[in-house]
Structures are given as structure tokens and as C-alpha cells.
Amino acid sequence: MKGQAGRPAASPRGRRRRTRRQIRIGAALLVLIYVVGLVATFTISSESATEQSLTERLAPPGRDHLLGTDQYGRDLLARTLLAISVDFHAVLLAVAVAVVIGVPLGVLIGMGGPWFDRVTMRVVDAFLSIPTLVVVMVAVASLGQGLVNTALGVGFSFSLIYARIARTETLNIKNEPFVMSARQSGVGRARLVGRHIMPTLARPLIVETAVILRAGFMLQATLSYFGLSVQPPHPSLGNLLRDAQEAAVEAPWQVLPAGLVLVAIILLLNLTSDGISDLLAVSGTPRRLLDGARGRLSRLPEVSSGSRSLVIESVTIQVDEGAVVRDVSIHLERGEVVALVGESGSGKTMTAMSAAGLLPPGAEIVAGQVQVNGHDLVGASPGLMRSLRSADVGVIFQNPISAMNPTWRVEKHLTFPSVVLRGLTREQARQRAVDLLGEVGIADPEGCLRKYPHELSGGIAQRVMIAAALAGEPSVIIADEPTSALDSTVQVRVLDLLLGLRATRHFSLLLITHSMGVVAHAADRVYVMYSGEIVESGAVSEVLGHPEHPYTQALLAAVPQNRMRERELKGLSGSVPRPTRELPGCRFAERCPHVAAACTAGRVPFVERHGHASRCLRAQLESDVFAVEGRRGDLP
């Protein structure tokens, strides 16, 4: 289990800071290149870069000419420096044209009616499926050559991209409630566009502009390489490259200066635009789920396992920010159904998943023991973990359809692991799959095998996933909210199916739920979790009948008694303190109606009497007949 996290992921904030720096540096260097180009236009006379001198043809780099001269005897350094600002201006002109045409066009299409929208977008899309350079060629045919004409052509073809984005955003914003109400209250279209639409448009347009600038430099260089844009003898990066290609046999180095300047500009634009889109993307740290599946299957060593199939002993689980599961102990007797109940964020799923070695990346067991059928999981080799998952532990997830592979038929979900892990032939695996589907109550197993996940209802999909979990004949099944995502009518049936299977197959079931109704219906014993700790445990009849902890009492009060109805636990004011927060005493104190000074003074012990245990000072003192008389005055 250790090392499952791999290298700790960089904190999101640190990453953002680095991304911002990347954008700043990229943009600053671009400006620097441009300024160098500008300075060059004011200091180097254009004659020195265009005047031919046949005596100095193809001079190698040296004192007089730092980069040498080209085949017409012109100084290469001067030409390269002068080319920079020419290309910048051509690209900026093209982008300006694109924005000026494209953005208003897009807003216009978006503001117009649906019919207008469909017709114009058809045309825009048709243009966008023709390669940009071909569109520019058409523009060149009608406008003619030269820097300004080609920039107009490039600008026109880019304007369609802007139009498309502006139109989409306008349509989105138009239907926002605040814009709708502004329209109804008679705000004019012009003001609507200026006040609401333009500001929201800015963001996506800026992202796109970074990408378009890159394409612009590529196109500008291409067009002048073709001799369509900047006309010789005036220098531009594309012209320089064409000259260099002509002279490549005699002076191959000439290819480098202009090419490297171009690569530098485009590289910097790429870094900047990548940075901008990273910054605006809302992706979290990548989930490295596969890290848990390393290692080779290994034979499980013989161990004596006793009567308990799962033991979680004093386990503490830590993530970057701190502990999320604190000193938790849980066990499952063979054939027992045990519920782990709590609100979301209580650490119940984390606790349960530690028993399958499925902790999310970054979470790690730092103290305690986990044993499945006597096998130690903490510090176990990845291979042993895999073997346990394939044979001893089955997991059922909350959302069956998203847990299924969209490109696999039902059949493959049931047969693939059996063929790969258990060496069954495909026919054997298929036969077993049919049997299993029958066992989980699917009427037409053969038909079901051929279906894809998206063709299943939630209830059927969860039955399939239960069958898949049974394929390895596990002795422990961990079910993470197995019915919460299902229709309420199906919930009871799926739960009863699990209970029935438990009776015939004798596995023990760890049922993670937030519903006391589910606990009452299905479980033998229950653990109540709050903010990373177990606060109460015992037989279901005991805990539900005589709840000791005020939190359990509140949970029960929030649910209509003896009814199978899932309901968020909202009976309490306030919210669960984050498990990672260090608190001196009782973690429930902030919300407890009975809180007293002693409660926050130090850690509250977990005290058991007759198999019913809780972590509450008040409950412990009240139950202790002798102490009650003497110390009642301290208590609420």
C-alpha cells in the first residue's frame, strides 16, 4: 500500500504560479524580439539591406558581416533584423482585421434569429472546412499580392474562427437569466451587447488569439516564401528563407538565422498560449488510478484467517493536507453485513477502499493495520494486492454505468477478468457469465450479454456489476453507496438482491451508505463515521434503538423511521468539519446541542459496553451510574 501515491503531485497553487510565470516570460520575450526589430528599422538604413553588391556575394560570417552576406552580397544580419518587424506588422494587421470583421459578425449571427443563424453558420462552416492556405489563395486571386493584400486575406480567413466563437458565446450568454431579464426590461440590443456580451467574450477570444497569432506567423512566413506577401528585395523571414534555399548548395548556414528567429517566435507563442489555456482550464490534478494495478499476480501465502474476513485496525489515512481517516477500527465477521454510515466527507469511502487497496492517488495509510482473510495489506506488494482483488475482495461502485467501460459489451465485463486472471477459456467464462447474470436476477442473460453499458438501465447495470464482483468468488464485498444513484423503486430490490446473495454465498458485505434507512433495512452491525472518526458502533437494533452519540441521534431524527427512503442528512445546522482539521476535543462539538467545556478539553475516548460503543463524554458519564451522581454539575 505504501508508495501508492507515487511522487507527490505539485500543489495546484504552485502550478498556477509557474504557469503565470511561463506566460509572463513568454510574452515579455516576444515583446523584446519585436522591440529589437523596431529598433533595427530606425537604426539600419533599408538601403544597406537591399542594395546588391556582387563583389561581396556569399561572404562567410566575419568582422564586416557578422552573419555573412547572401548571394546578392547583402548583409544577412541587417536583413534578418529588418525582417522581424515586417513580419510582426503583417501578422498584427491580419489579426486586427480578423477581430474587426469576425467578432461583430459572430455577435450579429448570435443575436439574429435561428433561421439567419443556420444559414450563415452553414457558410462559415463550409469555409472552415477548406484549408486556410487555400482560402488565402482565393483572397490573393481577388485582392492581389503584397503585404497588405495578403494580410487582408489571412485576416478574412481568421475572422471566420472569431465569428464562430463569438457566435457560440453570444448564444450562450443570450440565454443567461440576467440577460433575459435585462432584455425583458427593455434594455436595447446595443447596450446588451456592450454591457453583457462583449466582456464575457473577451476570455475565449484571448485564448484563441494566442493560437491565431501562431498560425499567423506561420502563414505570413509561408506567403512571403511564396513571393506573395512582402515583395523582394525587401526582407521578411519568408523571403530570407527562400533566398537561403536558393543558395543552400554554396552557403548552407544561411538557412539558420531567419529560421531560428521564426522558431523562437512560434515557440514563445506556443508557450504563452499553452500557459493561458492551462490557466483557464479547470482540470484538477490527474487521477493516477492505474498506479494501484502494478505488479504481477502472486500466489497468496497460506495464513490462518480466523473468523474475521476483514479487519481494519487503528487505521489513519493521510493526504497532502493532513489526516482524513483518524484511528479507525472496523471488522467484518464472516457472512456479516456491516454498514458504514456518515455524511459525504466523513471518510467512510476512504476507509472502505483501503480494504481493497483502492485509495485515491495521494492518500496513504500512515498507521494501523488492514487484513483481508489474514493477509496484511499495509506494506503488501502490489502483486499481492492484485491477487487479493481478483480472488478475495469484490467492489461495487455507486454509479454502475460510469463504472462500466463504454466500449465493452456486458459480456466482456464479466468474462475478461476471468479469462485473464483465472485462466478460464472463453466458453467457460461465457457460461459462467450467463450463470451469474441469472443469479443476479436478469431475465434474459444471453440478450443482456450482448448489450453495451449505455443500453442498460441503472438497476440492470448495477446487477451486472454485482455479477462482475461475484465472478472472483470473493469473501468480502465492499459496496460504495450501491443504490444511491438508482431510482427509489429499484433501490430496495437491489439491496435485497445483495442480502439474498449473501445468504447463499456467505460473503461478508461492507455497505457504505449515508442513509439510515438502508442501515435499518440491510445491516447486522453499523459504524457511524463523523469527520474522519468512528463516533458510534454496535448492533443495528442497539444503535438505532438507543443511539448514544448526539450525531447518531440527529441522523435518526432526520429520517422517517422504518422507511426505506434515501435522504440527505440535513437535520443539523452547520457542516462537518474537514477531517484534516486538527481539533482538540470532540469533533462534533461545533454542532452538538449538549456541548460542555470538558468536551473540547481533550480527545474523547471511544468506550464500549456490551458491544455498543460511542465517543461522547455525556453518554459515557450518563451511563456510568456512580459518576453521574458526583459529577453531574460539570455536565450539560
Partner: protein
């Protein structure tokens, strides 16, 4: 299979519409230019009578709409008109140039997919480790190298300096298959590299996105190993996204191919369109728009079918 056929037929209509719209826009977008093919066909000393005759032959004195409809009637029957610059049939011109362009484009795309997708998947497998960082940096750099500069560098090094491969020109397959292959190597490498870099970046993130999906966690929970999950489950899912990206990159690749054809002096569609633009040879220009558009449209169609086959959920949605 039925839904695939329905998909293809459904898309075919809108694809033809795209081509028609693009050609029409080209026709009317260039309507205001001065149409004087005589300067190419007859030379500067042509007599007014012969100019008159030529205009009549090409129908240039008719109203624009009539000209357009005449073109459309011909196009429907597979006749794309006559070039104003060479008085050859446009279709013959196109057919003589298309093989070279298709060879380069298909060859480069195959190479780009092989290198780009391969490295992208490799990087995703080693996410945030040294291999990944190396490959991703390579992508960023490769993404920033203009293809024609790369082409010039390649020619300078491999053709002019070491004389390993031909510097320019295209040899038809029918003439000599080996020379055909040799003439394609450098242009294909120059064209494939930037596209491979882009494909690689996107393939990497497509795989990384899959790795975070719930079904991966389920697969892990069954005890399956990392490699099995990767090859048996994740890649097929990521492939759907990759196919879409490849189709998108076709558009960029066609633009680049025009440049690469020029760098290597290959007589392909790119040169045809370029000279048509310079000589304002509208019939050829329109044919160019249609041919390039058709390549894009066909690519998209193939991509749609592939996606629907790979991922039945997408097939059901369309």
C-alpha cells in the same frame, strides 16, 4: 451496420453542400476581378477579334449568374470547365496533379499518426515521469518548427550535403515504385513532423483523460494489471478521441502540404492552386477549393464511421 450506412448517407448530403457552398463563394467572391485570360492564352499582341472570340468561347461576356449556372451544370456532370491560363480541361489538370498530393498527404499522415500517436501514448503511460517530460518537450519544439524551414534543412542535409535522397521532384508510382518512395521520404518527413507533434500532444491528453475515468478504477478493482487495463480497455476508448483529432489535423496538413510541395518542387495540387491564384484562373481555383474540401470531407466521413464503430455510444447518439 445499418446505422453506419445511415450515418454515411446522412453525412454525404451535408458534405456535398459544404463543397458547393465553398465553390460558389469562390466564384462570387472573385466576381469583381477583371477577367482577362487573353493575356495568358493569346499574349499581349492579340488582336481584338481573337480576344472577342476567346471571350465568347469561354462565355465571359454572359451575366455572372449565367456563367455560374453553366459552371454548375457542367460540374454536376463532372466537367469543371476550361482553365483560363492554359485552355486545358480543369479536370485533366486536377487529375494529373492529384496523385502527387495524395501520395504526400497520405504518406505524411500515416507517418504522423505512427510517430505522434505512438509517442503520445508512451508519454501518457509514463505520465509526469522523465520519459513523459522528454517527449512532451519534444512535442512543444516540434510543434514550433515551420514545416518549410524543416524541409529546407532536410534538403540541405540529406540531399545536397550527403546526396542520400533526391532534393526535389516527384516520380509517379507507375514510372518507378522505388524512386516514387525515395522522392516521398523528405517531403513526408517535413510535413509529418509538425503534425505528429500536435497529434502527440492531443493523444497524450486523450489517454490521460481516460486514465481518470471510473471504469479504470473498476478495472483495477477486479485485479487486472496495469498493462492489461491499458491495452485492453483504455487505449480503445482513447482512440475515439484520437480519431477526431487526426481528422481535425487533416485540415492543417493540407495547408502545410501546399508549402512542402513548393519546397520540394513537386507538381501537385498546391502548385496548381498557387499559379491559379496568381493568374486569376478562376475555374482552376474553384476546382482546387473543391478538391481540398473533398479531401477534408472524406476524412471527416471516415473519422465519423471509425468513431461510431469504436464507440457504440457515439454511434447511437448520431
Amino acid at each position: 451496420m445499418v446505422y453506419l450506412a445511415r450515418l454515411v448517407i446522412g453525412r454525404l448530403g451535408s458534405s456535398l453542400a459544404v463543397l458547393l457552398i465553398a465553390a460558389t463563394a469562390t466564384f462570387f467572391g472573385t466576381a469583381f476581378i477583371d477577367r482577362r485570360p487573353e493575356s495568358y492564352l493569346l499574349g499581349p499582341t492579340a488582336s481584338p477579334e481573337s480576344v472577342q472570340l476567346l471571350h465568347e468561347k469561354l462565355g465571359l461576356d454572359d451575366p455572372l449568374l449565367v456563367q455560374y449556372l453553366r459552371w454548375l451544370a457542367g460540374a454536376v456532370q463532372g466537367d469543371l470547365g476550361t482553365s483560363w491560363a492554359s485552355s486545358q480541361a480543369v479536370l485533366d489538370l486536377v487529375l494529373s496533379r492529384l496523385p502527387a498530393t495524395l501520395s504526400i498527404v497520405i504518406g505524411s499522415m500515416a507517418l504522423a499518426i505512427l510517430v505522434g500517436v505512438g509517442l503520445g501514448v508512451l508519454a501518457a503511460l509514463h505520465q509526469s515521469r522523465a520519459t513523459d517530460r522528454l517527449i512532451s518537450t519534444g512535442f512543444t519544439v516540434g510543434h514550433s518548427v515551420p514545416e518549410f524551414w524543416l524541409g529546407i534543412l532536410l534538403v540541405t542535409a540529406f540531399a545536397l550535403h550527403w546526396s542520400l535522397l533526391p532534393a526535389t521532384g516527384y516520380v509517379p508510382f507507375g514510372e518507378s515504385p522505388t524512386e516514387w518512395a525515395r522522392s516521398l521520404v523528405l517531403p513526408c518527413v517535413a510535413l509529418a513532423l509538425p503534425v505528429a507533434a500536435t497529434l502527440g500532444r492531443h493523444s497524450r491528453s486523450a489517454v490521460v483523460a481516460q486514465l481518470g475515468q471510473d471504469y479504470v478504477r473498476w478495472s483495477v478493482s477486479t485485479g487486472l494489471g496495469r498493462r492489461t487495463i491499458m491495452w485492453g480497455a483504455v487505449l480503445k476508448n482513447a482512440l475515439t478521441t484520437v480519431v477526431a483529432i487526426v481528422a481535425l489535423q487533416m485540415l492543417a496538413m493540407l495547408s502545410l502540404s501546399i508549402v512542402v510541395e513548393r519546397v520540394f518542387a513537386i507538381q501537385g495540387m498546391g502548385g496548381l492552386v498557387l499559379s491559379a491564384a496568381l493568374s486569376q484562373d478562376i475555374p482552376v481555383l474553384m476546382a482546387g477549393v473543391i478538391v481540398y474540401g473533398a479531401i477534408v470531407v472524406v476524412t471527416n466521413l471516415v473519422a465519423d464511421v471509425l468513431q461510431a464503430t469504436l464507440n457504440p455510444r457515439l454511434g447511437a447518439a448520431s
